[in-house]
């Protein structure tokens, strides 16, 4: 019972955000109930809808797990967007450079390339924080901007599909990438692909890493108390860099899946900052928070937020309220979750007090006869 008491707060946060969403719908002249019905139908209404929701959840899960690893070291990784992009770029460039690899080699190679790309984009702010004391929130945000511009430059220039130049349309996208890199579709006729399996496996691996390995223990120890960790002989700086590197690497995998699991099998953007990622780097933070900053908890959490995003498209079609509503609601969820943490802490404190009180009562009082 108590074990789950903490989960009440994120759920309440989502419910509260949805209530605000309902009020907003009403204010904009749409029927809230009809809106919510459309969202639910859009997200869960059919096999195809469920597959879409799952596909949407995959990058959120990988980013969310990445964010979780960083958080556990008490490092805030806001750089998911940039790390996704770098992962996608590394894998895309690999696929363009070595297009003839068979699928059995290509897919693992792409995953490694993306992992490395994201890892580099995570290691930079990690090293800046550990060795130069630069606030990681600011450096990761700046690296997001750098990554977006790099992507725009490469997709409009060196990596652009030659057909786009010939046709004069100049859509910033690559050519159709090597078919051997296509992530196999799991359910015929849907978008659900191998990426979903990869994401879940990495979530489980992250759990094992954090709670069953020494390196993972070090990261959590540093997050809980860097001073004590230092005295215990843990290399704090190294753990911080490791946490952000791994965090970025997982985001990089999300980038690979966004490109090679897409229907167009190209790396496409629209020139805007979220044109490629769909804001997954930020939405992943929401999923991680909702999942209690636990890799396994992030699995259902990312599914829920994937559903919100997919449902929002249906909402837009049915009641003509822009899907941007969901971005605003995600923001509210974040605010509500971190704001309610104070009550969660107080609840835990109360349990602690009750427990120690009970222990005192249970112990036979030592009678001091003098």
């Amino acid at each position: 019972m108590r074990r789950w008491a903490g989960a009440v707060f994120p759920v309440a946060a989502v419910v509260a955000a949805l209530l605000v969403g309902g009020v907003t719908l009403a204010l904009l002249g749409a029927d809230p109930l009809e809106g919510f019905r459309a969202m639910i139908e859009g997200a869960f209404g059919s096999g195809r809808a469920l597959a879409d929701t799952t596909s949407k959840a995959v990058p959120l899960l990988l980013v969310g797990v990445g964010i979780t690893i960083a958080f556990r070291a008490n490092v805030i990784n806001i750089g998911g967007e940039g790390q996704i992009i770098l992962g996608a770029l590394f894998a895309t460039i690999f696929a363009l450079a070595v297009p003839d690899l068979p699928a059995g080699l290509m897919i693992p190679a792409l995953l490694i390339a993306g992992f490395v790309g994201g890892a580099i984009w995570g290691a930079i702010p990690g090293a800046l924080k550990a060795y130069f004391n630069v606030n990681e929130i600011l450096s990761t945000i700046m690296l997001n901007i750098v990554a977006v511009q790099l992507m725009n430059y490469l997709l409009r220039g060196p990596l652009i599909d030659p057909a786009e130049i010939e046709a004069g349309t100049r859509i910033p996208q690559t050519m159709r990438l090597a078919p051997s890199g296509d992530l196999p579709v799991l359910l015929e006729g849907t978008r659900l692909n191998l990426g979903a399996v990869i994401a879940v496996l990495f979530a489980i691996a992250a759990y094992v890493f954090l709670w069953r390995t020494t390196a993972g223990f070090r990261i959590r120890a540093v997050g809980l108390n860097p001073h004590a960790s230092r005295y215990a002989g843990i290399k704090v700086k190294r753990s911080i860099v490791a946490a952000l590197t791994l965090s970025g690497a997982l985001c990089g995998l999300a980038g690979v899946i966004l490109v090679f699991g897409s229907e167009s099998h190209r790396f496409v953007t629209d020139g805007s900052s979220t044109g490629f990622t769909g804001n997954a780097g930020f939405n992943g933070i929401v999923a991680a928070l909702f999942g209690g900053l636990h890799p396994i908890g992030t699995i259902p959490a990312s599914f829920l937020f994937g559903a919100l995003l997919v449902g929002a498209n249906k909402l837009q079609r049915v009641v003509q309220v822009p899907a941007a509503l969901v971005v605003a609601l995600n923001g509210l969820v974040v605010v509500f979750v971190v704001s309610s943490a104070i009550w969660k802490r107080r609840l835990e404190q109360r349990y602690l007090l009750e427990d120690s009180a009970k222990e005192l009562v249970d112990q036979p009082a030592e009678v001091d006869d003098g």
Partner: protein, 310 residues
Amino acid sequence: MAEFFTTAIIVSTVASTFRFATSYLYAAIGETFGQRSGVLNLGVDGIMLLGAFGAYYTVLKSGNLWLALAVAAAIGMLMGLAMAYASVTLQAEQGISGIGFYLFGLGLSDLLFQKLVGTPLPIDGFPNLRIPLLADIPIVGEMLFDHSIIVYGAFLLVPVAAFVLNRTTVGLNIRAVGENPEAADTLGVSVAKVRYFTVILGSTLAGIGGAALATELGIFQQNLTAGQGFIAVALVYFGAWRPLGVMFGALLYGFVAAVVLQLKTLGVIPLGASDLAAMLPALITILALVVAVQRERQPAALTKPYERGE
């Protein structure tokens, strides 16, 4: 390249440096107050977006620029109140709650824009106000004294902010709360009150910064700020928590933006490379952070919620 160094182009580049620096300046000076009192408001970008939309929409409907400014300020104030409640009263982790406020502003401004406006129509901003006599000075006059009132306002804010922070009791309280909240509390300064004040003030200025952006550009679009609010937060570090330093940072950004724009119009840099040029501000910020952090010490209680010991 030679044509870049004609007087006319240099004058217009310097003049647009001040224009581009304006929105950063409002937001960053506002953020300086919050950070000096120990609160990191990362939601600036979202607040700027809401302020920008509020101002844009007001001008579109009423044509009244002053009303637009008031609307943007009021939106900023409301967001600041919410932000202060989360960070001060509820002691929410500031790095994350700010991202929540950012997403909220990003989504809501886009939603309202699509629903209430749809196709972007241009608006007229504040007209240029030539300062008599000063504007007639050759070269310098055109660079400095031929701007809209909202640009002058931003630069006037700098000495005012420096004066308030360094020479008034309010400023002393703000700094005390940011350095040592326990001691300030002991001396009878309400930590919560001071922080509510600075966060609401900072967010109001962020709202006005958004309005400055929308009225100077004469347009609104999804994610109009493109991360300006985040850069404003970094500028406070860059300027070592001092209004004058923050101003130099904002001018640097304004200058980079102005030069890039000028080179683009002249066709000196090819279209593709302008994406690379757009990286510059972010790269400069990272370098500036590395340098600034080695040199300066941040307010000791920055991002640390304060709870009275029982």
